[in-house]
Symmetry: none
């Protein structure tokens, strides 16, 4: 008898990182489903199908769980646009388009994740920690965006346009469109939002993105 121990049923004890990831996912679902202020250790544990004690076991406190959840969303976003840049064509225009498009990728625009972003932004004024985490998010992204806009302006015929203003305006528009998708999913779908952002891009840099209006006007 004995010999090989059956591994049939799911192991009760999972590797540490796997459990943490599982709990972070449960936290995201809970924030989206109940709201941040109604997200409790109990709702997260229930969402994960585990016992209450497990959160303090793996994260020591609820506060830490929330911070790591925010960090996870921030990091995931960052790695996603970095990957998008890597995969994009070599031209600045292609890279800029890729950067805009990634903001409307299904996995980024997932309403659960949007809820998490805005939940933390909603508390950010009174929580320097949140603010710092979110500010970090923007740092690299902003630099890239400004750089690319600068490149295009240098390449094309865009007199009088300030790279910082355009870049920040574009980023702001994306954020605003996220909000619309969160608050009014009926009136603002992902595709519509992407369309609006791309229209704006085309209009801002008609030389690069073949704005039909300008093209027609030119001829």
């Amino acid at each position: 008898m004995s010999g090989a121990v059956a591994k049939a049923r799911p192991r009760r004890t999972e590797p540490r990182e796997k459990r943490r990831a599982q709990l972070i996912q449960a936290t995201i679902r809970s924030i989206a489903g109940q709201g941040l202020s109604d997200t409790t250790i109990a709702t997260v544990a229930a969402e994960a199908g585990l016992s209450q004690g497990i959160i303090n076991l793996h994260f020591n406190s609820k506060e830490r769980l929330l911070l790591e959840t925010l960090a996870y969303v921030v990091d995931e976003y960052k790695s996603r646009w970095e990957r998008a840049l890597d995969r994009a064509g070599p031209s600045s225009a292609e890279r800029l388009a890729a950067l805009v498009e990634v903001d409307f990728h299904p996995s980024v625009c997932d309403r659960n994740k949007l809820a998490v972003w805005f939940a933390f932004w909603g508390e950010s004024k009174s929580r320097p920690t949140y603010r710092r985490l979110c500010a970090d998010r923007d740092r690299g992204y902003d630099r890239q965006l400004r750089q690319l806009c600068g490149d295009l302006i240098a390449e094309g015929d865009y007199p009088g346009i300030k790279p910082e203003s355009v870049a920040r305006g574009m980023a702001a528009m994306s954020e605003g469109l996220w909000l619309d998708m969160l608050v009014s999913p009926r009136h603002m779908t992902r595709r519509q939002a992407l369309g609006i952002a791309m229209d704006h891009l085309a209009h801002t840099f008609p030389d690069h993105f073949g704005d039909p209006a300008q093209e027609r006007a030119r001829t």
Copy 2:
């Protein structure tokens, strides 16, 4: 006789509406200062310098206080842009500029109020009531914006521009700039935000807002 009797201590009993307004202001400050999820009856009462019981006396529940606070901010915003439209010049361009400018009026961009907006947006996914209140906000504003953009497009030489896309893009950019002012007040001041929004406006409708770039290009 006796002339004016000095009222040393503040009167204990205030007219109903005055107290309610006072408590709503205290709620705004508390949400901004502590965050929505750390805003308690106690923090609001302390902010107002009154006792805890007074909130249930005037609002029956914390939930109602929060809803009325949100409604107050929503209403105030609405009446502000309506007044701005009333006072604006007759041309559509003037009216559109007024509509954009009002989003960056000091009283609208007040960081306390921004915190309230985003606090409720952050919970909106799980609270249909919040979502509905906020959706109402947009309804009239959107219509106006779309109308004015349509007018300008009809007047000017803007082939291929869709009013809905432009209008929603502009509104989204304002929201995104609000977020920046909330999260990174150092990097995004009210003046900068206004500049970015006006740049975008000028760029979108160069015929109306004398985009220097286009003007130069034209000559």
Copy 3:
């Protein structure tokens, strides 16, 4: 001018005793309607159609109001059976019957008042004050009952019956029937209760109350 002051509308200020009586009636209704533990100054004031402050104005505290309400019910009961005795015929049998009947007089069995009795009895173990008030109630009543039972026993052919035992048993039965009327009004009407009590009386003192069974047996 002025002359006679119009007395048309109900005077806002009532004589002291009238107000107190009015508030005691409201308290009885409130205890019956909401239960003693859900009877608040607010429910009593609402029941009386007056403002909250009036109770402390007339009774100084809720506790006092409750005590006076209990005392009122106790006194009213006492004066009622005293009057019944006064009006009863001269014979002990008539007087005893009158004493039993008064327990089932509509005004005594009023479910609101029963609710008050049992509300206070329910708290009596932990409230010596209530217990004392209720004990006072019994004192005189018991003496009368015992006396009358003793008289009948002396008059009739009731060997081996102890007056105290019979008297207390009869009183207990009345109380138990009150409880039935309170808890199960459907199953125990006032008339039924009276019937049971009178049956018991007739059975206990067949010589005086013409118990049909015994009468038949005698012939």
Copy 4:
């Protein structure tokens, strides 16, 4: 090895049912000691020597705790008289005597439990839930009592006696004697109450319970 390990402190975690029973006992003591309306979660927890949180942990609400406490007392009473019937001799007279005696068994007449009965009866008018629980109590008991009285009447020479009237009268007397024991423990001891009830029984069914008076009269 090591033999029995001494468990110095009481185990912190008890089986679920044991804790619930413990808390119900504490509730009974609290109602008896402070009265129902002064029984708070805090008094019950203190009586049990546990923390406040434990009540909601095991009963979800105070209301539920009170209901289960009432249900416990009701059930205990029921099982007690059922057991008494099982153990009683086969004759209807013996069974009836057993039924009456159980009402004055020390464990039933325990003043703490009496306080609970009357506390809930005192609120019963305004709480249909209480009333229903108490009505259930009576259902089976009444049926048995009526049945047994009917049997005795059929067996003996008791012309003109109605089983329902006698049965309900006896039950009412027991309730009234409970009240006396609760309100005036000095003047009504358990033994006295039992004596009164048995006197009544003997008097009502002299053929079965050898009423000395009647017996003497017969000779």
